[in-house]
Symmetry: C2
Subunit: 675 residues, 2 copies
């Protein structure tokens, strides 16, 4: 057999086309398939299934063999849009590994269904000051996640935490990547909404978020928005300080910078040479506010009049010093550098950018800022060195109407590349190329950066374009937001899928398209429907950087990540009654709750401390009480507490909601509520 | 070039191993890749990625080429477990097409976040009678979906509706497959919980659901569960009548059959020869109820003492006649045939089944009922012909303690096959084989049925076993629940995944393993993590049977699927104030709301009628009001109404939550709430 194969290989070499088949070519020992039969099988199957040659190549480029998880070299963390969650997917398999519950309650994970560890997070994420709390609306029950930001050390992902903003309500959440659970939701003062302003500074000192629509500074005067927009509305750039041990955001060490009432949009952190700076796009410098049945133009017209909007350049290290010097005001619990102070201290500069931009994306070396002005067919590439020189030499075009110095466009631009229609967002590979999404063209354009990547004629050049399907929003290249991108793959986040998937209802999925970046030309590998949510921005991380726990140390409270004082081991189970409070310390294990029976009088306060005493990975149990809206997910080692008033009488079959063993169905108990 | 290829083919033929490469082998015209280069590329890529020969085969067997949706020949409808939803996936791609929001609010789909069409469904799904309604718990906010049931005509799926039960709260929901939205949640009287009893009769006359844990018949006497279990607890088999036009369940035409207080578990509908019958497994015929800290055995011990439990055989066509004859009692609004009447009228029989069974699964011809008694290493195969004969000849072993006649086991069994440890659930292919999951062995066993499929020595024989990873629960073969299964693929629903995927937190995904059934031996093709929820049961349907709408007729209310009286077209937009009510008729289109400004006084009732006037597939818009917990998804043509009290003052930036156009970010308006 091996002789035949060798002969064939030689024959192929003679044929001149480099044909390589069999064991060597297919990498590894095939125990169940013959050497030469394989090619025949592959061909036959491909033909039967209607796969073209290129499809076979793409299949082999994307297949993750069962039981070989490391073949998914990267993970994507995608915002879930108005699902309020984060999606975790593998690359190149593009399979959905987990939906992390963040702003929206999710019972499978026991997020917001009675467990103290999640209920406390969600309750703390609604501030009364923001006007959200009322009898009908005691807490915010969903979010619109837009921009995930992985924690960084030295501009590289460190796999510790991920932050994400709620575009709807101006909040920001922190997820711990030890257990992939949401530990904090922070309702940022002075922000009503936010959008693409979420990023982490290169050593995770701060997570940044800015207003999208500006905030009405006096909420008791709503109609003043119409009469006095310029004076009563303000934007805020927010630097939330990160506790380096817990990853939590700390309000008392955080600060904001007041901004004009433009619409602050996408933002990015400086890195390496530009570390210490932040860049925020804006649009609607026209300060339009709609009124299409009141004689004013709709926003889409009113906010698109100016040829240039203003990129905000913020020197946040300088802002730190301004705060240290006490030049701030305390507004709703936040230290705010007023706009005039920010200008006077040199914290804030503007540079014009082509109208209605969507992305400002900093290159791996920190020197280039690529802006897609979505109503302009170019990507405009600013040089940070040029910006810095212009700031230092006060090379101003003018002061804007709020007194902010505006740098000269021509002094700051390093290059422009005509890429196509509707440029939005740029990602980077490891070779000095940028990839920009083209919404209107439904395409991705590849272009070269300048020095030190490319020089002369080779710099700032369009080198390839690939059609995508359809209406692409953002892109993600592997670790493409970091100082050391991996290249390899690009994912196009297409907003529309139209005819790409079986029709499963009037609401269609988004389409994530995986693109191979290893060749000279981009190559479409696969389509993937997004069956839940509407991702906006994605960050990717090398899988090996994630060091998640599989099992908690016995009795861990996920909120503190420490031993819960009410955790019990075998022998510690008990029920105590004090007045009208019934308190139980319960163990949870295959296949019983202990105690499995609770005797309660209607109206009692019931407190149940649950400890999953399992030490085996995957040995998760649930704890549900029918009719009481209670469902807790208890991962191995986890401890959680449920507290409620037993206000419905009857016999309630408490049960395990996670199929845990052959006797899972027998894992139940009774809560008996008598009158 | 083609000569070289031919020479190679000849060479291969001489080699005797049937090597076929190039254009012919790879099926179709390759425009971008050379004939012979391809095999070389495939081999090189496979080697680089560490794929074995068999992996390449599996890649080619499962790859769905971009832009070729019909290559996903089947769709899976999987229960989402305690996520409360339904997952729709493609086969063989195994990609997640959609999470259908059912029992749990889901903002991406606008399910339960202010739109009347979904809020009314969710509110109607909580009956006060069930004890759920209280000040702290006005409605049930999650579910534990277990068993989906696609509508059938003549025992084949017709693609109209899907039903699914809520194991936690004993409810059942209906999803319309024209738009994949939940139209009805029905809180079934006399059921507190349910489990695997959900199925549709072969012409969708009824959807069936039974109690899991029996119901305390007098909820004011909770402690009587301990003192008098046998008398105060009862099970109920429920036949919900289906309206053949709307798919809705109609309480007034439905009925229940009272059952002993065993735990009624999985059930299946008779088909063809057994049409008119229903089969329900039971366990805990011991009537244990735990009490592990009160001197009683835990359920896992107490409910596993008897060697046999009781399969329930229900003649529901006879039950229809009994109801027609008026031999029922009305209990909580349901017509109930009492247990003694059911026995006297011949509606209910038992047959012993090996202890603690999980599945009773009817074969395609309707004659075999395969039972996996999970504490017995056999699959026990009952013959419906034998059961019928035993009933007709009153071939009773005894009457059970509730007076139900128990047929003789030996008279009803057609065959038994030793399959392995922990047999749970059987699915069928198109060739007369059954496939049963083995939870304890983490395997799937393939066995042959009897006449007319196989006879003599070939019948009732174990023919193959395949290891799966790990702890397999249910299985699904393509259309494997119908009278005409497709064979082709099997999916193993593994409860644990342990080491099969990158670790993304302490809560691990389930693992759906795709298995090829076309060969003599089962062949594992791929692993797929389930990133949201915990599927229990899955039904699969040929993709071509689904005839979903892509766009609603203009102004459609998804609840009625008819023109909404408040839908408006261009020109009909307006705002009217009546006392303290502000009512707006608003159009929604790329890229504006009209009107885009609402002027409101704090405390006003605000009613907004939203019509998406788009006619283009995928042109969905959202409508969110920050801080008000409102998010509506408006698919093209859809009309929905939002009503709320404006109890928070300020300026709220209403906006579109679905990225709809290049000027999507400009699609916003303001709600101004003044004091």
């Amino acid at each position: 057999m091996s002789i035949t194969r060798r002969e064939l290989l030689q024959g192929a070499a003679i044929g001149g086309a480099g044909l390589v088949v069999g064991k060597v070519a297919f990498g590894g020992d095939a125990t169940t398939t013959g050497d030469t039969a394989l090619s025949g099988d592959v061909g036959k199957i491909a033909a039967e299934r209607g796969l073209l040659d290129e499809d076979v190549i793409h299949a082999v480029k994307t297949f993750v063999a069962p039981g070989k998880p490391s073949m998914d070299s990267h993970l994507l963390f995608a915002s879930g849009g108005h699902s309020g969650q984060i999606l975790v997917m593998g690359v190149p398999s593009m399979k959905l590994m987990k939906v992390i519950a963040v702003f929206t309650p999710e019972p499978w994970q026991g997020h917001g269904y009675g467990a103290d560890s999640s209920d406390l997070v969600m309750a703390a994420g609604t501030s009364a000051e923001g006007g959200a709390v009322s009898a009908s609306r005691p807490k915010l029950g969903w979010g619109d996640t837009h921009h995930p930001a992985l924690s960084e050390t030295g501009g590289e992902y460190d796999g510790r935490w991920i932050y994400i903003n709620d575009r709807a309500n101006g909040r920001i959440a922190m997820v711990d990547l030890r257990d992939f659970k949401t530990k904090q939701i922070f309702d940022v003062p002075n922000l009503e909404t936010s959008h693409g302003g979420c990023f982490v500074t290169q050593n995770s000192d701060y997570v940044h978020i800015s207003t999208m629509q500006p905030t009405l500074t006096d909420r008791s005067k709503a109609e003043s928005l119409i009469t006095d927009y310029k004076n009563v509305m303000r934007g805020y750039s927010t630097f939330m300080a990160i506790n380096q041990t817990t990853g939590r955001m700390e309000q008392e060490r955080s600060f904001q910078i007041e901004l004009p009432p433009y619409t602050q949009d996408l933002a990015d952190s400086g890195k390496l040479v530009s570390d210490g700076y932040a860049f925020i796009n804006s649009f609607n410098t026209e300060m339009a506010f709609g009124g299409n049945m009141e004689g004013r133009p709709p926003m889409e017209v009113g906010a698109s009049k100016n040829d240039f909007d203003m990129m905000h350049i913020i020197n946040w290290k300088l802002a730190e010093q301004v705060i240290k010097d006490g030049k701030f005001e305390m507004i709703n619990g936040m230290r705010v550098i007023r706009l005039d102070v920010a200008v006077a201290e040199g914290v804030l500069h503007f540079v014009p950018e082509p109208k209605s931009p969507h992305g400002v994306d900093v290159s791996p070396d920190g020197n280039y800022l690529c802006v897609g002005g979505k109503l302009d067919p170019h990507v405009t590439i600013f040089g940070f060195d040029k910006i810095l020189a212009a700031i230092e030499s006060k090379d101003y075009e003018k002061l804007d109407e709020f007194g902010v110095p505006v740098l000269k466009f021509d002094s700051c631009v390093a290059g422009r590349v005509e890429v196509g229609l509707g440029p939005l967002h740029t990602q980077y590979d490891d070779k000095g190329y940028g990839y920009i999404s083209l919404f209107l063209d439904s395409a991705v354009a590849k272009f070269s950066l300048g020095e030190p990547y490319f020089s002369g004629e080779e710099a700032f050049k369009l080198v390839d374009t690939l059609k995508v399907n359809y209406n692409v929003g953002h892109l993600v290249a592997m670790e493409g937001d970091t100082v050391k991108p991996d290249g390899k793959y690009l994912v196009a986040l297409n907003k529309w899928s139209i005819d790409r998937f079986p029709v499963v209802g009037t609401l269609k999925p988004q389409n994530f398209q995986l693109i191979d970046l290893t060749g000279e030309k981009m190559e479409l590998l696969s389509d993937t429907p997004i069956g839940i949510g509407e991702p906006h921005y994605v960050q990717s991380i090398r899988t090996e950087r994630i060091k998640s726990w599989e099992v908690y140390p016995a009795g861990t409270n996920p909120l503190t990540m420490e031993l819960d004082p009410n955790a019990v081991a075998d022998g510690g189970q008990r029920v105590e009654r004090t007045g009208t409070t019934v308190e139980a310390w319960m163990t949870v294990m295959r296949s019983q709750f202990m105690p499995d029976t609770l005797h309660v009088t209607k109206g009692d306060k019931v407190i149940v401390h649950l400890t999953n005493v399992e030490e085996t990975p995957d040995a998760t149990h649930g704890f549900a009480i029918p009719r009481y809206n209670i469902n807790v997910s208890l991962d191995p080692g986890e401890c959680a507490t449920v507290e409620f008033i037993a206000d419905a009488e009857g016999a309630f079959a408490m049960y395990c909601t996670e199929f845990c063993s052959a006797l899972h169905l027998e894992m139940q108990g009774w809560m008996l509520v008598s009158v």
